[in-house]
Symmetry: C2
């Protein structure tokens, strides 16, 4: 079996933010599996084949890729951002664990990338400069009660929070509920950053206090960062304020 | 004032993991501030100047860089990994907030990078595939009691945890205490990944159950990832096991 599987992170969407390692992996593969908008970012050669699939088909996409690798294919599975953060690497591992034993011996590699929260944080200043957590707000694969519990504990811990998958057509109401949960645990002055398409031509950044955060400020392509009690706002003339979380904390436990 | 300040993330240390955007920023700058090993990674031109400083001088380094920018300098402040994660971006923001008002108008930009936990996770499989947090274990800038509180709450929330700054000569005992705290809250079977210099020639990866994790498995250059109760290990013949956190969770709150 001479097949090879590489799960590649394409970064936030700006060509200048893809690593050379990711571009090399794309160059060396022959078959590409992924969600359509990520495949659309690739400039493929005539001998390279696209296998596009829809957003919520991660597991069947991973199985199809592994099947082709087991038959000798040189396969790339592509993710936006980093493949290890709410993306395809975990789906591929899950498919390997539950698939035929031979899949465990497949030549398998994950190529990391710049994940969305890092790109959004960079545009805002340094909101992730202190301890933080990353939470998917999608309740497709976990109970909503667990998400609410995590929000409350993260607020109690003083973590800055980054939210992936904040809202979608199938989940229109969860984000507003999440903000309500946070408002019960954090002061309304805590800054909330809505970062959409950070680093791309259609980038949109917005900073509002938690008291004013609302779900219509986000869409599927938005990564949201909620500051901690210690996160600071630096006002600047004619520019967006800078948001940062100091490296030091004077909070007692 | 025509100076410019770019805070650049050089990624985990492998040249193939630096983004083109970061390399462009390095090409365009004339003065470079940073911790010596990060400056050593740069191939500078004869007209480009190094201003090296030691590990724990972040704030004075940021102030020196801003002073030069205010005088018209084209300055890069470099970090390993991503500058926004326990690195220089927050120190620069802090210096701007507490410095002369003119510093707020400085042309300031952060260039994101692949942070250590993403590179370590990629080598291990997909341990950050579900909700996770990142905690600096250094108590130089926050009370140790706060770190212990965060460890306990993160365990209760079911977060996978990535630890930065796990140990140093000045802080030899904290990591062992952290493992003890975790063992009081998590089963001993939870996998712990010690990832040192991920993606570099001297890379060293090790996976042990929490019950066996000990502080002598880490040094300053190690990023540690502690799985959640749901994190899975896939054994493979003649290879390191794969570690991943499933995208779905059946835990009730």
């Amino acid at each position: 079996m001479s097949g090879r599987l590489t799960v590649v992170g394409l970064g936030p969407g700006n060509l200048a933010q893809i690593t050379p390692e990711a571009l090399d992996a794309v160059r060396e593969a022959e078959d590409f599996f992924g969600y359509i908008p990520y495949l659309d970012r690739l400039s493929l050669q005539p001998h390279q084949r696209r296998h596009a699939s829809d957003n919520r088909e991660e597991l069947s996409r991973a199985e199809a890729a592994l099947t082709l690798v087991a038959a000798g294919g040189k396969v790339c599975v592509v993710s936006g951002g980093d493949p290890g953060v709410f993306a395809m690497a975990a789906a591929v591992c899950e498919a390997i664990e539950n698939g035929p034993p031979a899949w465990r011996e497949i030549d398998f590699r994950v190529v990391p990338g710049v994940t969305a929260m890092l790109a959004v944080a960079a545009k805002a200043g340094a909101p992730l400069g202190h301890d933080f957590c990353a939470i998917s707000l999608s309740d497709n694969l976990k109970p909503w009660s667990l998400i609410e519990k995590r929000l409350a504990l993260a607020a109690e811990a003083g973590f800055v929070m980054a939210f992936y998958n904040p809202i979608s057509k199938a989940r229109p109401h969860q984000l507003a509920t999440a903000f309500d949960v946070l408002r019960a645990h954090l002061p309304g002055s805590v800054p909330v950053i809505f970062g959409r398409a950070a680093g791309r031509a259609d980038e949109r950044m917005r900073v509002v206090p938690l008291s004013e955060a609302s779900s219509d400020m986000a869409d599927m392509a938005t990564c949201i960062i909620v500051g901690s009690v210690e996160t600071r706002l630096i006002e600047r003339e004619g520019q967006q304020p800078m948001v940062y979380s100091p490296r030091s904390s004077k909070r007692e436990s």
